[in-house]
C-alpha cells in the first residue's frame, strides 16, 4: 500500500510539471497582459516598456524557467493587477470556496442518498418517477438561472434571506442550494442506477431468502456494494465544487476561487492563473488518490500493491 502511494505521488509531480508547462504555454499564447493593465490610451511604446519591466519580452522558456525556480523556493509570484503575492490571494479566497463547497456537498449528499435509494427500491413507482424527474430537472437547469430564481423568490419577494455576503449562516443558504443542486441531481441518478444493479444480484436474493430484515439487506449488502461508483462521482463532484463554481460565485458575489480565476483569466493575470491551476492540480490529485484508497476499505477484493 505504501509503495503504491509513493508511486502515485511521484506520478503526481510529473503530472504537475506537465500541467504547469501546458498552462504556461497556453497563457502566453493568449496575448500580452500589459495591454490590459495599462489605460486604454497607453501608446504601443508604453505597453512595450511595461512588458519589458514585467519580463514578458524574454523567450518563453526563460520565463518558464524563472517561474519554476521561484516555485521551488515556495514563491508563486506576484499578481500583475493586485501587486500582492499570489499565495496570499489564493489563501484568502480558498476558505470561502471550501466552506461553500462543503456545505453544498453536505446538502447534495443528505438529499440524494434517501432520494436515490427510495427511487431504486420503489422502482417505477410514483416516488421513482418524482425522484427521476427531480434529478433530470436539476441537471438540466443552468446554475446561474437557479441562483437568480432563488434570489428573486427568497430575497426580493419574500425578503427571508440576504442577497449577498458571507457574514452569517443565512448568507450560505442560497449559494449552497444553488451550488448543491446540480451535484444532488447527479448523485441521485448515480445512487439510483447503482442500487438497481446491486439489488438484482444473487447475494441480495440470498440475503432476503435467509430472512434478513429488508432494512439490513438494503443498508448492509445493497448500499455498501452500490457505493463504489457513488464514491467516485462524489469525489469528482467534491473536486468540482472546491474549484469554485464560477456561476454561483459570480451571481452571489461570493469571494471565492471561481470568481478570482475568471477575473484573472479575463485580465491575463498569469501568476494568479498559474497559482490556481497548480493548487487545484495538487488538490485534485490528492482527492483522486483518497478516493482510490477508499475502495480498498469498502471492497476487500481490491488491494493495492
Amino acid at each position: 500500500m505504501l509503495a503504491y502511494v509513493a508511486r502515485r505521488l511521484v506520478q503526481a509531480v510529473l503530472i504537475l510539471l506537465i500541467l504547469s508547462a501546458l498552462t504556461f504555454s497556453l497563457l502566453h499564447l493568449s496575448g500580452n497582459p500589459a495591454s490590459l493593465l495599462l489605460p486604454a490610451d497607453a501608446t504601443s511604446e508604453q505597453i512595450k516598456n511595461m512588458s519589458e519591466l514585467m519580463g514578458l519580452d524574454l523567450p518563453i522558456y526563460v520565463q518558464y524557467g524563472r517561474f519554476l525556480d521561484r516555485l521551488f523556493h515556495g514563491d508563486f509570484g506576484t499578481s500583475y493587477r493586485m501587486n500582492r503575492p499570489v499565495w496570499d490571494i489564493i489563501t484568502t479566497a480558498f476558505p470561502h470556496t471550501l466552506k461553500l463547497g462543503v456545505c453544498a456537498m453536505i446538502f447534495a449528499s443528505l438529499l440524494s442518498l434517501p432520494l436515490g435509494m427510495v427511487a431504486a427500491i420503489k422502482r417505477d413507482s410514483i416516488v421513482d418517477l418524482a425522484a427521476t424527474f427531480f434529478a433530470t430537472l436539476g441537471q438540466s437547469m443552468p446554475t446561474f438561472w437557479i441562483a437568480i430564481l432563488l434570489m428573486l423568490a427568497f430575497s426580493v419577494k419574500l425578503d427571508w434571506l440576504p442577497v449577498s455576503g458571507t457574514g452569517s449562516l443565512l448568507h450560505y443558504v442560497l449559494p449552497t442550494l444553488s451550488l448543491g443542486w446540480y451535484s444532488n441531481a447527479l448523485l441521485t441518478r448515480v445512487i439510483r442506477s447503482s442500487m438497481l444493479e446491486v439489488l438484482n444480484q444473487d447475494y441480495i436474493r440470498t440475503a432476503r431468502s435467509k430472512g434478513l430484515l429488508e432494512r439490513t439487506t438494503i443498508l448492509k449488502h445493497g448500499l455498501r456494494n452500490a457505493s463504489l461508483p457513488v464514491i467516485t462521482i462524489w469525489g469528482m463532484q467534491l473536486g468540482t465544487v472546491l474549484m469554485g463554481s464560477v456561476a454561483t460565485e459570480t451571481v452571489f458575489g461570493w469571494p471565492g476561487i471561481g470568481r478570482l480565476s475568471v477575473d484573472a483569466i479575463l485580465g491575463r493575470d498569469y501568476p494568479i492563473v498559474m497559482g490556481v491551476v497548480l493548487t487545484f492540480g495538487v488538490l485534485l490529485i490528492l482527492l483522486n488518490l483518497l478516493v482510490d484508497l477508499s475502495y480498498a476499505f469498502l471492497d476487500p477484493r481490491i488491494a493495492y500493491s
Partner: protein, 507 residues
Amino acid sequence: MRARWMGITMVMLAIVVVACTLGWGQGSGVTITVVRGTDLWTADPHNDTQVTSQSLFHNVFDPLIRVNWEDPAHPLPALAESWEVLSDTQIQFNLRQGVTWHDGSPFTADDVKFTFDRILNPDEPTKISSWITSIVSGVTVVDPYTIILEMFKAYAPIYGRLETVKIIPKTAFEAMGAEAFGLSPVGTGAYIFAEWKQGEYIRMVANEDWWGWVDRETRPDVVIRKSLPEGFTRYAMLEGGEADIVGQIPPERIEGIEATEDLRIETIASTRGFFVGMNTWEPPFDDVRVRQAMNYAIDKQLIVDTILGGQATVHAGVCTLADFGYCADCMEYEYNPEKARQLLADAGYPDGFTVTFWSPRGKYIQDLETSEAIAGQLEEVGITVEVYAPAWAEYWDNWLAGNHQMYLLSYGGSFPDCDDRIGGHIDGARRGLYYNSPESDLLIQQEQQTLDPDDRAAIWADLSAYLIEDAPWIFLWDLNLIYGVTDKIKTWTPVPVEHIYYWQIGI
C-alpha cells in the same frame, strides 16, 4: 524588514487612534452601502486604472485640483488652494495649509513631489504613469506649501489630468511599502479607508478633519462599498434593502425600480461615448463618402430606444456633451438610407461591399446587441456585415495591432475635456491608429497649446466641425449612467463620469 513592519504597525496604530478620537457628534450617524460592478485591484491609487476604483480613491485621497463638472474650463481647488501660470510650461500651486493625513501627520509639498516622482519614475512605472509621463517633466518644491509643476510644453488640458493624480503621503508610504499601502492606504480625503475584507466589502469612515466638508451633519458617517459583477444581483441588493446606491443598473430594470415605493432612478448623460470606428487607410473606408454614407445609414435613435431603453443621447462629434470642446452647433447626420445609397454609388459601391465588424461582447451594456442592430441596418443599404465578437483580450490586442476593418468601441474620459478622448483615436501625434489627418492634427496641436479657454473653445469648434464632416467614425451616442437609489439618500446628483463623491451624498 523588522523596521518596515514597525513602520506599518505605527501607521496603523496612528490611524486607529485618529479614527477613535474623531468627534462622532459632528456626523449624521448614518451608514450607507454603495454597490458597484467591479472590485478594486489594489487600494494603491496609482496602480488601479479602473474608473470605479478611481471613484473610490477620490473619497480617500485628494488631488491638487478637482474637475468642475458644471464649468470644465474652471477647475476647483483641492489640496492646492490656488495656482498661477508662470509660463507656458510652469504652473505654481499654493498648497492648502493645516491639512493632515489620516494617520495624523501633516501634509506638505514633499508629499506632492514624492507622488509625482513615483509616477514619473521610468524604472518602476505605475499603471497610471502613462496618463502624465508625456506631459509633466517634474515637480519643484519652492517651500513647504508651494510647488511648481514643470511641463514639457504648454498643455491646456493639464488641469483635468491633474485630477487623476491622487497625492500620497511620503512618510507613511515609505514606512509601509507599496504592498501594504495597497491594502491599507493613508490619504487626506473625506473618508478614511478603515477596513477591506477582500472580495466582500470596503468600510470607510468620515474624516472629521477633512478640509472640504459642507453640511457635514447631513453626510454619511460610514460608507460600505461592495462589488457585484452580476447586474441582477445588484438590482436584487437594491430591491432587498441591502444597498442604498447601486451603479450600472441594466436599462431593463428601470421600470421595476421606479415602480417600487421607496426606490428611484438617477441618470445622467456620461462621458462614455460610443462610436463605430473604420479603418480609413484602406478601401472602402478611405473614401469620405463611404464614411458619411455609414453615418446616414444608421437610425441611431431607434437603436437607443429599443436596445438601450432610451438611456443614451444621440449626437454627432467626437466629444461627449459633458466635454470641454463639445460643439452644440455642429451638423448632425440624420437617418437617411436613400442618401446613404446615393453616396455609396457615388463612391463606386452601388452594390455595397462586405465588411468584418469587430464587436466587444459583454464589455459594455448591450454591446453585441448594438453591433447586430447596426449590422442589420447596414444590410438595408447593401452592405454585408459579418459581426465578429471575440473575448475582450483578443479584441483589444487586434485593435492595438490595427487589424480591425470596422469596430464598435466606447471611450470613457475620467475628466471632461475632449482632448482626453481623441488622444487614443484621432491624434496622429499620439495614437491615430485608424484615422488621423494633417488638418486635424494641426488643430489638435493648437488646442493643446492655447491656454485661454475662449480661444481654445473656438479652435475646438473648428476641429469638431472638421471631424464631423470627415467622419472617421459612425458617431453614435453618449451612454447614460443609471443608478438605483433608496429613499435613505435624500439628495445626490451623479456626475457624468462613474465617480461617486460620498461627501456630496445627502442623507
